[in-house]
């Protein structure tokens, strides 16, 4: 499909933005959980001692890790389509850091 680079990039960043929003809602469910259900099998399971509470730090790690993986894949895809831009950005960062250090 013939499209300008700008349109491709707009599609990419729109997808990234929507994925970020979705990922934030996924993170929110673990970092700021809603009150536990008061009835149904969940409450029955807790009352019977069958459902043990999960480790909070581990739960947080389990949702953060895929988010990092997702970010890396999007970065990798961007780098694949814009190799010069990525190298240019990296060089600029190195120069900036080098300039600050010296």
């Amino acid at each position: 499909m013939l499209m300008s680079v700008a349109v491709y990039d707009l599609l990419f960043w729109s997808a990234v933005a929507l994925c970020v929003i979705a990922q934030l809602f996924i993170l929110k469910a673990v970092f700021f959980p809603a009150p536990l259900p008061l009835d149904g099998p969940a409450a029955d399971g807790r009352a019977a001692g069958r459902l043990r509470p999960a480790s909070r730090p581990l739960e947080m790690a389990w949702v953060v890790l895929p988010a990092i993986g997702l970010a890396l894949v999007f970065w990798w895809a961007w780098d694949m389509r814009h190799p010069d831009a990525a190298v240019g950005t990296a060089v600029a960062v190195i120069n900036t850091v080098g300039g600050t250090v010296s």
Binding site: M1, Y8, L11, F12, A15, V16, L18, C19, I21, A22, Q23, F25, I26, A29, V30, P33, A34, L36, P37, L38, D39, G40, P41, A42, D44, G45, R50, L51, R52, A54, S55, L58, E59, W62, V63, L65, P66, G69, L70, V73, F74, W76, A77, M80, R81
Partner: protein, 311 residues
């Protein structure tokens, strides 16, 4: 979905047990969970054709190795879960809880299958494919079954990584390496898993509750689980577009990914609407569960067809 409505009235009743004449061969096949593996084989074979032009011999060997590895993992899973399989109606007829096989026999069968698969893939395909398949086995057995399944509502999310290894195996079998597209296929299966399994978990939550397995609907509640299914599907939708965006696949794949993804999204929205309206949602949930199987298979077939037509 009204909270005053008893959950028992909303979920689909358990299927009745049908007597099956005992047969060792049938039990050994049952241990491998062939219906689940059939989808894994599609997500292994399609990436092979998307990655290159493999010989039919290579494809058959990878299929056999993949079946043995996944079947071995499923058998070891049945060994480790033998205590709760007896509690859940869905799993009560499996060979161990029904007394047709001993736990030791099942464990030996599972380990033997995994060992045979490792040898087959390493010897006849390549070491990377064998290593990835074995990593999937260990991930499923130790990270999912042994660790997360009974301790975290994220069990399906992280455990889903085990089911995401087959595309990597298929890709590595043809190219001998992994690249962005292979990793994207891994993530596609990874983000597909929660909406797929949570649809089942919503309907079987009584079973999971009795067995003490903290599936998301039991820990977060039904509505939050449905919302999470929607968010995972949003990410899945855009992830499936990424291979087209980097130029790996063409218009046929793009159109398939959009249509298939939109249908999955629509199904989940319909389920949430039914729940919010207080009407029965088990019908839409079943549809999402069954359609998500078709979705993944067709998406991967579209990849292979797209690349075949481009050559």
């Amino acid at each position: 979905m009204s909270t005053s409505q008893p959950v028992a009235q909303r979920v689909t009743p358990e299927p009745k047990a049908t007597p099956v004449p005992p047969s060792l061969g049938r039990d050994l096949i049952a241990l491998t969970k062939p219906r689940i593996i059939s989808l894994l084989l599609v997500t292994t074979a399609a990436p092979m054709y998307a990655a290159g032009e493999p010989s039919i011999w290579t494809v058959l060997l990878v299929m056999l190795g993949g079946y043995l590895m996944a079947g071995g993992a499923n058998a070891v899973n049945m060994y480790l879960d033998r205590d709760i399989d007896d509690v859940m109606a869905r799993t009560r007829l499996r060979p161990i809880p029904s007394g047709r096989m001993t736990p030791q026999q099942v464990l030996a069968f599972g380990v033997a299958c995994a060992a045979a698969a490792t040898w087959l893939l390493a010897w006849y395909v390549n070491v990377l494919a064998a290593g990835l398949a074995l990593a999937g086995f260990y991930f499923y057995v130790f990270i999912y079954t042994r660790w997360l399944k009974r301790s975290s509502p994220q069990n399906i999310v992280i455990g889903g990584a085990a089911g995401a290894f087959p595309p990597l195996v298929g890709w590595a079998a043809v190219t001998g390496s992994l690249d962005l597209i292979a990793v994207t296929l891994f993530l596609i299966v990874f983000y597909w898993t929660p909406p797929h399994f949570w649809a089942l978990a919503l309907m079987k939550q009584h079973d999971y509750g009795r067995a003490g397995v903290p599936m998301a609907p039991l820990v977060w509640g039904e509505r939050e689980t449905m919302r999470q299914m929607l968010w995972y599907t949003v990410i899945l939708f855009f992830l499936t577009l990424l291979p087209w965006w980097v130029g790996a696949f063409g218009l046929l794949y793009l159109a398939s990914a959009i249509v298939l993804g939109a249908l999955l999204f629509g199904g989940i929205v319909q389920m949430i609407r039914a729940a919010n309206a207080g009407t029965p949602w088990s019908g839409p949930a079943w549809w999402v569960y069954k359609y998500s199987l078709l979705y993944l298979a067709l998406l991967f077939v579209a990849m292979a067809v797209d690349r075949a037509l481009a050559r």
